[in-house]
């Protein structure tokens, strides 16, 4: 292979990997924030993302709603549904001596419910396109070619991540979420309402999933199975340490770039297994994940 081609592959692989990695990172953030504050691995994350895409599609294509209406409405509805699921389902499952596995199964139930609803709508029978508000065209970054949409996806993802970290670090809501994530009992003792914060976290997580969906949907195609992308987000979260928010972001970018590099320098067949190979490598070399911190043994 010529050096020119190797250099082209590296540039394009990194550029395209950062775009897809940004979306994985957003979904990984949504997974990690829920896990940190409620101890639930949300296996419906992909389907929440899928349902958000279809909801926006219905509003724009079927009900002819303008994008500036459809986008906020979609985000609000997904936030509301996610919060309602936490309040109406998960709290009851937890109250009924809910152990972790029951809560996870409840999220699996939600994933099947959402997929069933989209299939029942009749729009899930064939891949569909989501209208893009970004014009066609490409920009060259070095030798790498990215569409305008790619650039918007990447930039918007970074903005959403920045807002997310600002909320999480500097607002009262964010501090409450962090407190619940660190020590639930202590948070309750200082007057934080656990149930309210957990519901807010689910709403927040749903909102991020909806934004990820709205960003990537015009690039990909809408299908009932599009939620499988959450597998990559889980991989990103695991690589990052599963409880670390910066780790989720870095993990997303690592997975996105690794997929492209493996596809370009090894084989396209290997793209699908790349995230799992990365997980294995990270767990073998650094079992707590890249940002998971050292394993601490508490002496009692």
């Amino acid at each position: 292979m010529d050096w020119d081609i190797i250099w082209l592959f590296v540039q394009q692989g990194v550029a395209s990997g950062l775009v897809s990695g940004a979306v994985y990172a957003l979904l990984a953030l949504a997974i990690v924030i829920v896990y940190r504050t409620t101890d639930v691995a949300n296996f419906a994350q992909g389907e929440i993302y899928m349902a958000a895409s279809y909801l926006a599609f219905f509003l724009i294509v079927v009900f002819a709603a303008p994008s500036f209406v459809a986008i906020p409405v979609t985000i609000l509805i997904v936030c509301g549904v996610s919060a309602a699921f936490q309040r109406l389902v998960l709290t009851r499952v937890a109250a009924a001596r809910g152990v972790s596995v029951n809560l996870v199964i409840a999220t699996l139930g939600l994933s099947y419910l959402l997929k069933g609803m989209v299939r029942f709508s009749g729009f899930g029978d064939a891949p569909r396109s989501f209208p893009s508000v970004v014009p066609d065209g490409t920009v060259m970054i070095g030798d790498a070619s990215l569409s305008y949409l790619d650039v918007v996806i990447f930039a918007a993802s970074l903005v959403v991540m920045a807002v997310f970290f600002w909320v999480f670090t500097y607002t009262k809501l964010g501090r409450a979420m962090r407190a619940v994530g660190m020590n639930r009992r202590a948070a309750a003792l200082v007057g934080i309402s656990l149930s309210r914060v957990q519901m807010q976290v689910w709403a927040f997580s749903g909102g991020i999933s909806a934004i990820a969906a709205l960003l990537i949907a015009p690039k990909l195609l809408l299908t009932v199975e599009m939620g499988h992308i959450a597998t990559l987000a889980f991989a990103a979260a695991i690589v990052g340490g599963f409880t670390s928010l910066p780790g989720a972001v870095v993990g997303g970018f690592i997975i996105g770039i690794a997929e492209n590099m493996v596809g370009l320098f090894a084989s396209s067949r290997a793209i699908i297994v790349t995230p799992f190979v990365v997980i294995m490598l990270v767990l073998t070399l650094k079992p707590q994940g890249l940002f998971g911190g050292a394993i601490r043994v508490r002496k009692v």
């Binding site: 064939a126 396109s129 499988h228 370009l264 067949r269």
Partner: protein, 403 residues
């Protein structure tokens, strides 16, 4: 002595009658006036578009045959089952048709994986099975005594035909090929590579997961390899992503899109999003002419007459509707050739001697060792709006060789 020979004669006569009675009893689904055929396909569910109107086309053909007097004094009686293109549902449907409804032959299957799931049962049952429009390579190779199919095309023939077109139309010396990394993809790749080699062309393939979302790697590799032509034999969604990515990466060589990705051309254009991506795109067609054209008008007219309400609905007739005609023709022609004393064995023998032109690009031809009928395609240049036919018929050369 004469009494004795009379007795022996009577005994021999009754034995013969008994034997013939056994012979008749061994052929379920056959009466003096009817032949029972088990017709199945996806009448509901997400894959309905692949088979609902294909079944309707077969039914209208059988209805026409019945209206014209039937076959050798018998009318065709249809028992329908919905397989939803699901392996479980298809196997259940086939078992019901064979064991409960006792059909004479099976005629069905629009999706490859489900028909492969039913293969072993059907082989054991020894009931002749003429597939509808499934590629069905897994059930057709190696050839099974009682299974016939690929009247539309097999996946091997998809691969061989697209390569033939690339070489003959574009003089391609370096062929890029993106397929799936599943059995479906392996089947079409198995014929494509050797056909390229036969023409002395270099063949580069990239196999991708059907759920792939980022197609940068396979497309960029094809561009970097400077292939003369790129063939896509993926399903619709990956093909659409690849067309979009090829435009983004300024890949400007001809792209041939195999039939696997073309259930709905308008949807394809909508999903790709830009007509710029269709500047140099060719699509494979299995019918003898453009769907809805004059040569095929009789099929569409027959459909409108048979299903006036359905044909008035949007989306009907479905794209694959005419594919239902050749399987029904195979059944009818083989039954006619097998004669009034038809048996399943005679029917199978008759199918193995069929060679006729139907509505497809190439002849419907079976032999004792080739149970996949159709191997040719025609091609259209597609600019996102209009289809322009490229002259010629392009056939796959791949043949099954037992190890």
């Amino acid at each position: 002595m004469r009494k004795m020979s009379k007795m022996l004669g009577l005994l021999a006569g009754s034995a013969l009658l008994g034997l013939s009675g056994v012979a008749m009893a061994a052929e379920p689904g056959l009466t003096d006036t009817t032949i029972k055929i088990g017709l199945f396909g996806p009448m509901s569910g997400p894959a309905q578009a692949y088979g609902q109107d294909v079944m309707n086309a077969a039914k209208m053909y059988y209805a026409k045959v019945n209206a014209d007097g039937g076959i050798n004094g018998r009318k065709i009686e249809i028992v329908e089952e919905d397989d939803r293109c699901s392996p479980n549902d298809l196997v259940a449907a086939v078992k019901k048709l064979v064991e409960q409804d006792q059909v004479f032959i099976l005629n069905g299957g629009s999706c490859s994986a489900p028909v492969v799931a039913a293969k072993d049962y059907v082989v054991r049952s020894e009931v002749p099975w003429v597939m509808l429009n499934a590629s069905g390579d897994g059930a057709l190779y190696p050839p099974q005594p009682n299974i016939f199919g690929a009247m539309s095309i097999s996946q091997r023939a998809v691969g061989g035909s697209t390569v033939e077109f690339a070489v003959k139309q574009f003089g391609a010396k370096k062929i890029g090929y993106i397929n799936h990394d599943d059995a479906y993809g392996a089947w079409n790749l198995e014929a494509a590579g050797p056909q390229a080699k036969e023409h002395g062309a270099t063949f580069l393939s990239e196999s991708v997961d059907p759920k792939i979302t980022d197609v940068t790697a396979p497309v960029l590799k094809m561009k970097a390899a400077n292939v003369d032509v790129l063939i896509l034999t993926t399903y619709a969604a990956p093909a659409q992503l690849i067309l979009k990515k090829a435009a983004e990466l300024h890949f400007n060589k001809p792209i041939i899109v195999a039939v696997n990705a073309i259930a709905n051309l308008k949807q394809m254009v909508d999903n790709v999003g830009t007509k710029d991506a269709f500047k140099n795109v060719y699509i494979q067609e299995l019918l003898m002419a453009k769907p809805g054209s004059e040569k095929l008008a009789w099929v569409y007219d027959m459909y409108k007459k048979a299903y006036p309400e359905l044909s008035a609905q949007p989306g009907h007739p479905q794209v694959y509707m005419p594919y239902g005609i050749p399987p029904a023709e195979v059944v009818v022609k083989a039954l006619q050739a097998a004669g009034r004393d038809v048996t399943r064995a005679k029917f199978i023998d008759a199918v193995e001697h069929l060679n006729f032109n139907s509505v497809m690009a190439g002849p419907i031809a079976f032999t004792h060792t080739e149970h996949a009928a159709q191997k040719s395609s025609i091609y259209f240049k597609f600019d996102g709006d209009d289809l322009t036919e490229v002259p010629g018929v392009f056939a796959s050369h791949w043949t099954y060789k037992a190890n």
